[in-house]
Subunit: 321 residues, 2 copies
Amino acid sequence: MNDREKIIEILLKDDNFTLISHMLPDGDSIGSLLALGAGLKRIGKKVQMFTPGPIPRKYTFLKGAELVDNQVFSSTSSKVVIVLDSSDEERLGLFKDQVMSFARIINIDHHVTNQSFGSLNLIDAEASATGEIVFGILKELGVELDQPIAEALYVAISTDTGSFKYDNTTSHTHLVIAELLKYDLSPGVLSQKIFDERPLSFFILLKEAISSLELYLKQTVAVMTISKDIRVGSGATTDDLDGIVNYTRNIEGIELGILFYVESDREVKVGFRSKLLDVSALAGKLNGGGHVRAAGCRLQGNYETVKEKVLREAFEMLKEL
Amino acid sequence: MNDREKIIEILLKDDNFTLISHMLPDGDSIGSLLALGAGLKRIGKKVQMFTPGPIPRKYTFLKGAELVDNQVFSSTSSKVVIVLDSSDEERLGLFKDQVMSFARIINIDHHVTNQSFGSLNLIDAEASATGEIVFGILKELGVELDQPIAEALYVAISTDTGSFKYDNTTSHTHLVIAELLKYDLSPGVLSQKIFDERPLSFFILLKEAISSLELYLKQTVAVMTISKDIRVGSGATTDDLDGIVNYTRNIEGIELGILFYVESDREVKVGFRSKLLDVSALAGKLNGGGHVRAAGCRLQGNYETVKEKVLREAFEMLKEL
């Protein structure tokens, strides 16, 4: 039996599970958590759900979100913990030690970088989202889906594919969504919540970011810079920075977009977005990481020093393109 | 035989077709046109393709776009014209009379408002896009798809569903896309071209628009104002204004978004976007029109006068909500 078969067997046999997804939860981690939790309950299992840290407000509409404990990893009689969407144990944040002390750790994820830290590991890097893997598991368990499960899986998959825009979206992804849309979902309402609607503070931050725009290498590199003071002044959260960095790439003709977020005189966070360039390699050279078209790093030093270093590496890589 | 069956029969029997889609072409009209044109050619038909007016630059990468004539509706030996994605004959613009003089007019569309102006009409308002209907036709004709046809259909359907975000997206839509993605398409590259990428001038205009933001009625109404001077100064085109008005609605808590575009001391263009409010009714009161969540009007008068009038009407309607 391979790990997948063993996991299915355990899910069918055992009747008490602890589920957790990663810190700074996103749509895929929350959606996968809620869908698997609700699915296991539908076949009579006892389930406790956790996230290390609060669920962002935009996902709290999902049914079951109110049952997720994000403060205390309370003792439980379950002997099996299922970790979702977490490439390594560090992503379990303040709950890490408690999770890793379980006798049986089932690790379900789609990140190619997953460290296989579980006692059983189901890693499918072909899946667009952990939600896509959870869909397959629920099907194999014989769980009949319902509206809340379908909605949670839709949110999981649409978040991680950017509403099916990213290249991790496959034919199979769309087949799964075709199934989910049979359960009375509104793509319009869900997409507005997940993608389009942002707080006013985000747009003020965006204005500041565009004002800071600099272009390099015949307008193929776009650089935006935001200081902590400017972010705090706009009322935006650090989460909002993620939305900003995407804009660096969206300018016509731009191959590489960079956002510098100046945390202090001694530390700068850097986000990369690209159209063709492998920015995970670029970030890797700077002790960061990420995906091929979206990556980042965190560097010690003041803004000028960090910027010079980052641009030097970036220009070097672009030359090789 | 119903109209659909008659159309299939004609497409199989005849061997010479004229294809046309509507003026101010969008992704669905162009994608449907190119896919049906290429599909008919694959089964040995002669095809001529037209659009009344040029294809926007962002769609010219599609294979076959260079074969579409948008200047002259040249005489042709075909006796059958196929009109795609056009709710009425007015949408054929300068080619209208020539198209309507054909003995046989096949009208294929997904708009519920279609006027059935053809001699044969295949109107499927359940289809998310005309591209979704064309997919079904090609399948029924036994046309084997290829990469360019799949790409054209992908562009058609993803454009009209806003990358599967709008509520016209169905389970069937995703099944069709699942088929198309078997033909070596890159959702990432296509989506970037269709949705995300905008000229630099657009972002500068966006910055100006956000700077002008005013909020009313407990932050449920967002108003942005752009003068012609500011638009021209940013280098943006009038097309770019369309992208800006969407931002008025995307602010959290906003029910109604309004963009004032001051053309001169005597004329102001007004765009409306909403989440629930019927802005086509609002625009209607001001001699404009449009869709339920996206509408507009053009008013004579200076900015202050027009703004006061528009806000008065808008606040009135919001009170009734």
